[in-house]
Amino acid sequence: MKTIDALNTSFGDLNSLIDDAIKIDRNITLKNVFGQRYIGRGLLEEVKIKIYGTPGNDMAVYMDGAELEVFGNGQDAIGNTMNYGKIVIHGSCGDTLGYAMRGGEIYVERDVGYRAGIHMKEYKEMKPVIVVGGKAGEFLGEYMAGGAIILLGLNLVKDENITGRFCGTGMHGGVIYLNETPEKYNFGKEAVKAELSDEDIVFLKKHIDFYSKTFKKDLNRLNIKLFSKYVAVNKNPYSNMYCTY
């Protein structure tokens, strides 16, 4: 496995180094990452990168199949417009996680900032998934058009909400699962509570198992059947808003 020392490199240089390295070795490690942007941009499948430090904004932007594992926190817009691939973050990350992502999976050990999963989409067999171990900021799943967001709400302190206000505002597709009593939360009017099906439970179990294995957490006490599920009221939310003349 090739190791690249990212200390004192610009994002352009670091990404060029990664491009060169993956021609020889599809498994690489980056160390001393200090905020370099666009790591993993547009990277194709079969590339695996372990990242030590704090990768910068737009990590995995337009990524198309690679796997990134971050040993540290992430910043904003991770997985921006990502097509396919997998991201694991051993820590928390900033705002707009998975903006407009269309496929692939993102696992965050702890918390995420505002507007996580904004405008996530899906298309045919491409169904993106975001799994967050802790809590999310406001506007979780805003404009959500597809895919799934799972919030585990582990380690919440007393009276702390699993998500901020305006969750699912403008939602017109996809599904949000919360490990919490839903009445407390301020959902947007475009999102509605739905019954958990057996398929939902199988789906949740699969992703929770991966989370638990990856982050080495015993989650046997989680009762998946008590998760709440939110979906879009309809996929054409603004169809009656206009009059043409």
Partner: protein, 501 residues
């Protein structure tokens, strides 16, 4: 809900002596204005459904049809005009936001028509482009501060990426979804033959059209529809859409009924799902964030593609354009308040934004004053109606223009302003297969080629008349313009002299 107060906007007049009851009009009208009464062997009309698109008039074999403005008048009132009254009736009936199509139709000043071009007389002889070389090619992209050459005269300076246009004209962003597949094919093929570019709009690029990539600008808007690595690398340049002249500051909603199988595959969203473009890009809240998006695109395309940033012409366009240049864009695209659209809220379309002529003059001036004009190309749009508008735009400082409304008019649009209904009888702004196939790309792309080639000839004639043999020599040359019917302030902003001065 009781009476809806609707009255026809147009009256369809059928000359019964000429009508042969062939029913072409019945079959051609997607709005179902015409119907055949077999008992009496007459064709009837329902005026209220007519949008005045001329389809029936043109296809009627005996020319038996005329469409007129419906003669019903309200009591004369310069303030409460009939359109004001009708809009209130419509909104009080439906509770809906008024939705319109195409550009701002209000009688605001058209500055193109208040500027006049110069020509050479006696001194500095004019040039005849029919016999002498006349360059209308432009290179879109940033230009370096200076050029360095080695001892052998070889260029040492690394040039920023460029797009070569054989003439300073491109086809505006119109997404697949807002317009039909056949319309897109006609635009793509015409752009290829003309050596210019068309623009995908924000609806992604159909795989079948990747072959026109060298003549394609791929757009990235807030919805990120169909945006992925291959798409970004497929075109000649990438355009970030921040705003659009017809609806500055707001996003877009492509209704689910227009998202059929092929549009779904191109946008990469489920069939029947609304395609909602949020008003802002949620990863851009500042010029620094815009830089982040620009460089995400440059990084992903190995710095080989120029990145354009398109904004609507708004009050502070000059300062915003300066920010865009400093954010690292290769071209700034500015769309004026008359720019067309498939659908925009009427109030926004008719009241938000400023004329492109003033925005262009202010932006070019500002970028020159800040000594950063060379870092970008300046592309403008928002109702370029003919070649003279283009020559005036270049003299005001534009590198190239986008044409949208003019292009769809070439494809058969008759400006009925009803794109949003999705029932375009000319096969342009529709996804209904029966209507789409009316637009034959084999024939229609040639009309686009004819139009743009003709305009290019006219541009050459006007350049030659000024004694200029390359369009680059006209750019920002405002001495070639004179104002007419303009006040002092307008002359100052346009930085031109009055006719006679």
């Amino acid at each position: 809900m009781g009476l809806d107060f609707n009255t026809p906007v147009f009256e369809v007049i059928r000359n019964e002596k000429k009508c042969i009851q062939c029913q072409v009009c019945v079959r051609q009208c997607s709005n179902k204005v015409h119907s055949y009464d077999s008992q009496d062997n007459v064709v009837c009309t329902d005026d209220i459904k007519c949008v005045n698109c001329h389809r029936c008039v043109i296809l009627c074999p005996t020319k038996a049809l005329i469409i007129r403005k419906y003669p019903l008048e309200f009591r004369e009132n310069a303030n409460w005009t009939s359109s004001v009254i009708k809009e209130i009736h419509k909104q009080s009936q439906t509770g809906g936001v008024l939705l319109s199509s195409m550009g701002n139709p209000k009688p605001f000043p058209i500055y193109w028509d208040r500027m006049l071009l110069n020509a050479s007389q006696v001194t500095n002889p004019s040039i005849d482009p029919l016999r002498e070389p006349m360059e209308t090619k432009v290179m879109i992209g940033g230009k370096p501060e200076k050029l360095d050459f080695d001892a052998k005269g070889k260029l040492m300076t690394k040039m920023p990426p460029q797009v070569e246009l054989r003439m300073p004209i491109m086809f505006s962003a119109m997404s697949y979804g807002s317009i039909s597949r056949n319309a897109h094919e006609a635009l793509a093929r015409a752009a290829t033959e003309l050596g210019i570019c068309y623009n995908t709009g924000e609806g992604g690029l159909n795989r079948d059209f990747y072959k026109y990539g060298k003549n394609t600008i791929v757009q990235v808007a807030s919805g990120r529809f169909g945006v992925h690595r291959d798409y970004l690398n497929a075109g000649a340049a990438i355009e970030i859409k921040i705003g659009q002249g017809a609806k500055p500051g707001i996003g877009g909603h492509l209704p689910g009924k227009k998202v059929g199988e092929d549009v779904s595959a191109t946008r990469m969203i489920p069939i029947g799902s609304d395609a909602i473009s949020p008003a802002p890009h949620h990863d851009i809240y500042s010029i620094e964030d815009l830089r982040q998006l620009i460089y995400s695109l440059k990084e992903t395309t190995n710095y080989k593609k120029p990145v354009f940033v398109k904004i609507a012409a708004v009050h502070n366009a000059a300062a915003i354009a300066s920010g865009i240049v400093r954010a690292g864009a290769d071209a700034v695209v500015v769309d004026g308040f008359r720019g067309g659209t498939g659908a925009a809220p009427t109030r926004v379309r008719d009241n938000v934004g400023i004329p492109i002529e003033l925005a262009l003059a202010a932006i070019d001036q500002r970028l020159r004053e800040e000594e950063i004009r060379n870092r970008v190309s300046l592309i403008i749009s928002g109702s370029i109606r003919n070649s003279a508008d283009i020559v005036k735009a270049v003299a005001l400082g534009a590198d190239a223009v986008y044409i949208g409304s003019a292009a769809v008019i070439a494809l058969g649009c008759h400006m009925c302003h009803s794109c949003s209904t999705g029932k375009c009888n000319w096969g342009i702004a529709t996804q209904e297969l029966e209507l789409v196939k009316r637009l034959n790309p084999d024939i229609m792309y040639k009309r686009l080629v004819n139009l743009v080639s003709a305009w290019n000839h006219e541009i050459q004639e006007m350049l030659g008349g000024m004694g200029i043999n390359a369009i680059d020599s006209l750019r920002g040359n405002r001495l070639m313009l004179r104002g007419i019917g303009l006040n002092e302030k307008e002359l100052n902003i346009l930085a031109i002299k009055y006719a006679g001065e």
